[in-house]
């Protein structure tokens, strides 16, 4: 790592977007200070560093903040281009393809507060998974090893960072998101990704996420019930 580089990551353990940045930093071999935020009681540093969105992750490099996980990943790649492997390919069209799929993954990843939103979200995700199987086949030239071709890249990190949440969703909903019969390359890719040290270190524990999700649901239900009373 270049001398004098100070890297601080503001995050929350359950956030897949924070996981994404942790994996990217680990891939590049960059050391950083991690600050766990309590999102119900955000720190002054977080609010000052991301006044527009007030969200994690925020990467602070030598005092300057960078926000939004995809933007942080590209920043890391550019600011530390001499360090570790590249997250994005060198050729412009390959870079555009990586950015396209990274955007797609986030658009399709289920996010929803209500049961209805979550069910809709799961449907969207299942549809997207088949498309991603095709993307993996094309990007990996049929081998299915990495979206990044020969090595892990932006798309692998973008999708891989969602794995704990996707598995937690499978547990809670009973839906099988990555069916080895329908999407064999993806199913194999997931097994392989989950075994990497960078993934194991960064991805939150699935059981812990399931518990966390149940608590959030209970809190939301209680709030809704309270709001509808009198």
């Amino acid at each position: 790592m270049a001398g004098g580089d100070d890297l601080k990551l503001l995050g929350a353990w359950a956030s897949p977007f924070v996981t994404r940045v942790k994996i990217a930093l680990a891939l590049k071999g960059l050391s950083f200070e991690y600050v766990e935020e309590d999102l119900r009681n955000k720190s002054e540093l977080l609010l000052a560093s991301n006044p527009v969105q007030k969200k994690v992750p925020v990467l602070i490099h030598n005092g300057k903040p960078i926000c939004e996980s995809h933007i942080i990943l590209q920043y890391i790649d550019e600011a530390f281009s001499g360090t570790g492997p590249s997250l994005l390919p060198t050729e412009p069209h390959d870079r555009a393809v990586a950015r396209f799929w990274a955007t797609y993954i986030d658009d399709k990843s289920m996010r929803g507060k209500t049961e209805e939103e979550k069910t809709e979200g799961i449907k969207k995700t299942l549809g997207a998974v088949e498309t991603l199987e095709g993307a993996l086949r094309d990007c990996s030239k049929g081998e299915g090893l990495f979206f990044g071709g020969d090595s892990m890249g932006l798309i692998d990190v973008s999708l891989g960072s969602l794995l704990s949440w996707l598995k937690a969703t499978e547990v809670m909903s009973g839906a099988k998101i990555f069916d080895p019969i329908k999407t064999p390359l993806l199913a194999a890719w997931i097994e392989r990704f989950s075994e990497f040290d960078v993934a194991k270190a960064a991805l939150p524990d699935v059981d812990r996420l399931v518990e966390f999700s149940k608590k959030m649901k209970q809190a939301a239900a209680a709030a809704a019930a309270a709001a509808s009373e009198n």
């Binding site: 960078i66 590209q74 069209h93 870079r95 396209f100």
Partner: protein
């Protein structure tokens, strides 16, 4: 230049997203063939090169097809020589990407809802959100710089181009005003500067034609806004 692969832009008349790519190509001095789609009857060319979204714009450069307007703009910046559309410094590049993304995620969505939802609590909430987001964008324009990109047009200006022409058209058709000179003086000045730029002028659709075209869509826009849930304001 002889021997360079041909550049073809698959777009649609009046599309603010197609405009983004057209203006990027023009700023870089790249000649391209423009193919205008009838979006009610999409061509094989479009469907073959954007099977995932089936949308315009799509840039064809030799064998490479690139989709998603802002992804294409970055591609154009990297694949062709010419004045840079993004700054050189990594932190400044991150900031440019942040605001470009902010425009699409925060400004455009709430603006759309504010313009087309029927007068209601949800519409007022969207209006407030739209104004909050635009106020943050307004702050990015300093007295000194002519554009978000500084002295020349860059990624954020290109991402914001819809605000320079299309927003006024939609305000006129919907009867809802969001951006006034009083509330957003810097944005309005920027918009006039943007549409007055020589390169931009060559790829802006005529305002009258836009008004005519989108007037016919008024009822559809209103129906679409009614169908979707109120913007979740955060």
């Amino acid at each position: 230049m002889m021997g360079d692969p041909a550049v073809k832009l698959v777009g649609a008349f009046g599309s603010a997203f197609s405009h983004r790519v057209e203006v990027a190509l023009r700023l870089k001095g790249v000649a391209c063939e423009l193919v205008l789609e009838d979006l009610r009857n999409k061509s094989e060319l479009l469907l073959a090169h954007n099977p995932v979204h089936k949308k315009v714009p799509v840039l064809l450069h030799g064998k490479a097809a690139t989709c998603e307007s802002l992804v294409i703009v970055e591609y154009v910046d990297e694949a062709f020589a010419g004045p840079p559309l993004l700054p050189a410094d990594p932190h400044a590049r991150a900031a440019a990407r942040f605001w470009a993304h902010f425009i699409d995620e925060k400004c455009m969505k709430s603006l759309w809802a504010a313009l087309w939802m029927e007068a209601s609590e949800a519409q007022r909430t969207s209006m407030a959100e739209a104004k909050r987001s635009l106020a943050l964008l307004e702050q990015q324009l300093s007295e000194k710089s002519r554009f978000f990109g500084g002295d020349s047009i860059g990624l954020v200006d290109i991402a914001a181009s819809g605000l320079a022409l299309w927003l006024g058209v939609m305000e006129e058709i919907s009867g809802v005003t969001v951006v006034t000179d009083e509330e957003f003086p810097a944005l309005r000045r920027w918009a006039r500067r943007y549409v007055g730029n020589e390169d931009v002028k060559r790829c802006l659709p005529e305002r009258d034609r836009l008004v005519a075209m989108f007037s016919e869509c008024k009822e559809m826009f209103r129906a679409m806004a009614m169908g979707s849930d109120a913007e979740t304001v955060n």
